[in-house]
Subunit: 184 residues, 2 copies
C-alpha cells in the first residue's frame, strides 16, 4: 500500500469549474455519474433525496438567474438540482454533491455548486421545476467540460478571484491532534 | 473515454464499515487521507472547518458513548471530529466527510459517520476535546480496516440490519428529467 496513491491524488485534484465548453455530455457518461451518485451513503440509509437533471437551454438560463453567482449555469451542459426531504438533510446533500462532482471529474467534466439564494429564488426554482412545497432545495451542481486549460483556476472567472481566497489552508491550520488546537 | 470507468466504480463501491480490525493505520496513510480532505471545496472557499484527529483509546471510548449508534467508535483506529464554524456549514461538512471516507477507502480503510446526538452529547464532546462553544460539532467519522469480509454488510453489524433499509433506490426512483417526477 503506497502512502499516497493515485486515487487520493485524484480526489485532491477536484477543482471548481465555472467556464464550460459547448461539448455535449454523452448519455452513457451522464448515466455513469448518476449511478455513482445514486450509491451515495446517507444517515440511516434514508436516501433523503431526489435529483432533477436539467439540460434544456431555456431552463438552464432561468436557473442561472436564481443565485448570486449562478450565471455560469446558463452555459452548462447539465444542471442537477438537489431536492432533499428537509433542511435537516443538508449534510447528506453535501455528500451527494461531492460524490457527483468527483464522478464527473473522472470523465474530465468540471462542475460547480450554486446556491439558490435567497429563499425567494429557491421557491422560484421549485415552481419552475414542479418540485413540491414540502421539499428542501438550496443547491444545484452545474456540469460541463472545461472551456480551456485555465477554467480550473478561480482567477480565470471574471469577478470571482476577488471574491474568495485562493488555495487551501495547510494541514497545520486544519488538523488538531487529540485536542482542539493541539497542532502536530 | 469509457462510459463507466474504474474510478466511478470505485466511488460507487464505498460502503459503511462499523466493525474494525485492530490493525493500525500508518501515519503516512493517515496523512494522505487528511491531505485529500484538506483540499475539499467549500462555499466561496471559506473552508469553514477544523478537524480533531482522535487516536487515544480512552477518548475513543468516551466518544462512542455520545451518539445513539456510535458504539463502534470504541474499536476504531481513528475518529475524526468535524468542527464547523456554524450550523450553516452542514452542507460543506457533508462534502468533507464524503471526501475523507473515499480517501480512506482507496487505502482499504472502512469508515462510518456517527452523529453526536442529542445536543447535550455534542456539548459533552466539545468539552472533552476543548472545542470552543461557538463552533458547531455534530458529525464524526470513525476509521479502521474492516474486521472481516462481511464488515461491509450492514446486516453483519448486530442490531443495524433491522434499523435501516438495505441497498439503494434505483435510478428510476432517484432521477427526474427536466421536471420533478418526470421519469426516463
Amino acid at each position: 500500500m503506497t502512502p499516497s496513491n493515485q486515487t487520493t491524488r485524484f480526489l485532491g485534484s477536484l477543482r471548481a469549474v465555472r467556464r464550460f465548453s459547448d461539448r455535449a455530455i454523452a448519455d452513457p457518461v451522464l448515466r455513469d455519474i448518476l449511478e455513482a451518485g445514486r450509491r451515495t451513503g446517507s444517515s440511516k440509509n434514508t436516501q433523503p433525496w431526489q435529483i432533477v437533471v436539467v439540460r434544456d437551454r431555456e431552463m438552464l438560463k432561468r436557473l442561472s438567474e436564481l443565485g448570486g453567482f449562478a450565471g455560469y449555469i446558463a452555459a452548462a451542459q447539465v444542471d442537477i438540482v438537489l431536492v432533499m426531504d428537509s433542511a435537516n438533510n443538508a449534510f447528506d446533500c453535501g455528500r451527494l454533491a461531492e460524490r457527483l462532482m468527483l464522478a464527473a471529474w473522472t470523465h474530465g467534466i468540471g462542475s460547480n455548486i450554486a446556491s439558490l439564494f435567497p429563499d425567494e429564488n429557491a421557491r422560484k426554482a421549485k415552481e419552475l421545476l414542479g418540485i413540491p412545497d414540502g421539499r428542501w432545495v438550496r443547491q444545484t451542481v452545474a456540469f460541463g467540460y472545461p472551456a480551456d486549460e485555465k477554467a480550473t483556476r478561480v482567477s480565470s472567472t471574471p469577478g470571482m478571484g476577488a471574491l474568495m481566497p485562493l488555495g487551501r489552508k495547510p494541514l497545520g491550520e486544519f488538523v488538531s491532534w487529540e485536542h482542539y488546537g493541539k497542532r502536530a
